[in-house]
Symmetry: C2
Amino acid sequence: MEKIITITRQYGSGGREIGRKLAEAYGIPFYDNEIISRAAKESGFAEAAFQNVEDKATNSLLYSIAMGMNVFSNQEMGFTGLSLDDRVFLAQSNVIRKVAEEGPCVIVGKCADYILKDRDDIINLFISASVDFRIKRSIQIDSLPTKKAAEIVLKKDKSRANYYKYHSGERWDNILNYDMALRSDLGGIDATVACIKMYLDNL
Amino acid sequence: MEKIITITRQYGSGGREIGRKLAEAYGIPFYDNEIISRAAKESGFAEAAFQNVEDKATNSLLYSIAMGMNVFSNQEMGFTGLSLDDRVFLAQSNVIRKVAEEGPCVIVGKCADYILKDRDDIINLFISASVDFRIKRSIQIDSLPTKKAAEIVLKKDKSRANYYKYHSGERWDNILNYDMALRSDLGGIDATVACIKMYLDNL
């Protein structure tokens, strides 16, 4: 399995855990928040500016604050005339391209499938699950407040779709963009990993 | 595996063969043109009117001819005021609902996922493949003329998407509509069947 695996996922679907387990199974690097840290470090951005940028895309207040931040000048960053959002995206894209060049790995979220679309060694996965499953999981794993969990889960879906659309110009939910898509709630996380692995082992 | 499996597929992706092999593996009925024949027989429609109705959706000349056919009256069919196209769809839908009630089976195409969406024992699969794979397969399996194969394959994709949109109001390529989606060309037809079977066996 000499592929770079990108994972796009609905919030609460367990896509990140699936990615981590796949990376473990193949003994290859796993990039999620690690990308963020690396991008932050290499580009000199404050790490805080990168945190969860993907999940902020519909939170207009937070987003406005982030966009209005003048922590560093455009010139300083080398991205003249771009918004903070675009500069963060560009810095992340550079990191994603760099880690992909280092060899097989798993990259979760952050439009990695779009950023790497010109490579021929990419496998794009999409992980979804029922709303109920995702709400329960978000309460358990991410400690979302029970009362607001449903609202947050739906909002996060929307923001991921918007983030993807904004940066790639494409629909996040276009099935033709992916090599494999699976609902993780039907068989559970481990069965989903096993199934993906069987698929990848045949490549 | 006590499920009703619906398969939506790109033309030339091998979705029908995959469906047939899954049905064989589980020893359950397989419905494709068989549905057409059964619908034709039960509703009294001329079988010819049902043939490949799904693939005609962008062929405007043929479609117009079909829509203008007055082979039988609306009253006679019990579908007052509907076009031939809609009457064919309704008759097919009735058959799909009927075979689904009979128990686990595999149904290929014909918006079966949409028609059966209110059941809770449905697994919706989507099979895609690269354009190159589908062109080659169409020439080999469906004996498409080599020179026109590319054009026909792309036209058939479009007509399937249009057919789905017309009858369901939904996008055919919406990933969230499916429980599992796979590209059949990466591992081949048999590996794809094995992978789907592993997934279904976990349900």
